[in-house]
Symmetry: C2
Amino acid sequence: MSNFEIFSTDCRSAARRGLLTTPHGKVETPVFMPVGSAGAVKGITPQQLEETGSVLVLANTYHLLLRPGIEAVEKAGGLHKLMGWNKPILTDSGGYQVFSLSPLAKIDDEGVEFASHIDGAKIYLNAEIATRIQNRLGADIIMCFDQCTPFSCSDPQLKKAVERTMQWAKRAKEAHNNPDQLLFGIVQGGIDLPLRELCAGELVELDFDGFAIGGLSVGEGHEDMIRTVSGTTRVLPEDKPRYLMGVGTPADIIAAVKAGVDMFDCVLPTRNGRNAFAFTGAESGPLRLRNSAYINDPSPIEVGCDCYCCRNFSRAALRHFFNVGEMLGPILVSLHNLRFYQRLMARIRQVLKENKFAEWAEEQLRK
Amino acid sequence: MSNFEIFSTDCRSAARRGLLTTPHGKVETPVFMPVGSAGAVKGITPQQLEETGSVLVLANTYHLLLRPGIEAVEKAGGLHKLMGWNKPILTDSGGYQVFSLSPLAKIDDEGVEFASHIDGAKIYLNAEIATRIQNRLGADIIMCFDQCTPFSCSDPQLKKAVERTMQWAKRAKEAHNNPDQLLFGIVQGGIDLPLRELCAGELVELDFDGFAIGGLSVGEGHEDMIRTVSGTTRVLPEDKPRYLMGVGTPADIIAAVKAGVDMFDCVLPTRNGRNAFAFTGAESGPLRLRNSAYINDPSPIEVGCDCYCCRNFSRAALRHFFNVGEMLGPILVSLHNLRFYQRLMARIRQVLKENKFAEWAEEQLRK
């Protein structure tokens, strides 16, 4: 039986609406995953997270491996218990973090040795280890260990990284030993479409439960990103979920849905929320709530928003909380931003259902 | 009509169970007030606060005067709107903060000039100004502006402070211009019982809506504090609420209820919560959750506790959150500690209702 069902496909774009089934519940797609790298979405309790409309949450192998360690997660009753989240979880393999957080990484075809960014301890990860760790963590969806390259890397480096990513995907697939967990392959290749196609083709052969597009949103810009996404989804199977990793702004998400992507994760709602940056759907754009313009502003962040923050707090109150360093500021704006993202995804699913996605997306992207 | 009704008085102690009526709702006593000095209980949303069983919350004139300023609170719709809390609020007058946070205070019989601990700006407060500010903030219960003395102050200094506190109480009573707000007098006098009696007697003459005992829990120790509280409540009218300011530990609260106190506020549940210190009712005492003893501990902070934290998170998870600096650690342990305090108060009210308070209190204080 398939884990992914497509309800409808937009007639004027590659967008689709579907349902992903996992051991901890069903997930309507397109879906946005809040990021809880170390087992917690920053400042947000699972109860609050649920109230934002979030269903699937991301955690990270690299962070959890460093602290508290895989054995500690197991002894604490597994990842769902540790996080207090009895709904679907996806763990990233740690590939991205090994390369972005550990400058001392020593890499060869076999795997990567790197130094913990916490205490410098030497750690070794490869396709098999990252997969078995994720088997032990017990997330509903797990990812292949891949080699990420910076945007600025040379063509031979990029090609080598793609080759390794393909080899490692094969090894991950073989190592994977928990049939309840969905295993996704990750397509790499920078913004080089032939390389992306090569990588995607190889992964499709391996028949993963889903396919991620990694290594984007690293400085290439919106146009190149969307062009690469479109080119990649085109060679991915229709009947499997597609996940664009670490993306992105509302505009990125709308354009990527249009290009056929089903799943997203990004730190923007929470990271920006902690920095007093509030997303709104208004023409006037986002608010920077430390601005003294809001000292006496009795209106909510966004009129009509149904989030806990907008139902209970004024811009004046939020500005005050940030100004005096009260934790409620970051908490409340993170809540609003998460709800903003989930309202956006619900809207996307709704217009897909009503077969109005293309017009709607065009209008949104014009704004 | 009286704002305070006493349901029962313990036959073996001065403890009583009552109901305080305020414009924003009724408050069962003995009651514990979480502290939200600057308009927010640190890290806790009003929704979460309500779920801990909290009804009456404390905010502070001094903090709100400095930031965001009284006019800003008014323009934001008043203190209840700013805090997102449509239940009873008590504001302290700022007397304590002027003397504890501002070393540059210049005081005379008229009032106090002090420097903001934020930016050094000169600010002037006296009985009339502190009262009118509280009238404008709009809390349900407001406090007279008093002179607090450190535990180490000399007898003449202490006497002078009590004289001023009495004079200022009279002026505050005259300045008070919002009959919807209850105005409480504050008894000062260190641990000098005759001075306390003098001050209390004078305030009783002025017929306040309630009487606070200030200037304790400043280093005098549990025994001297309770002796002073007992001696003070003895000269306060039976039919008015009594509030012991800034107190205290669970043992302090139980002993003070026994001595006839109805209301408490303290930063301990939230401050300790932020520092990974969790109160429990267990014989083994509180937990310090950064301790590596909890790395693999799958049990909640306290078995049987009905708080959100204990229902959803293990000690192992909390230890991990503190270890990696996730905000969820401080948030969850603050929630537990607040619920612990509110369960304690509910238990106190219950044993008072069942006329078993004295035995229960003795047993608790023995522990």
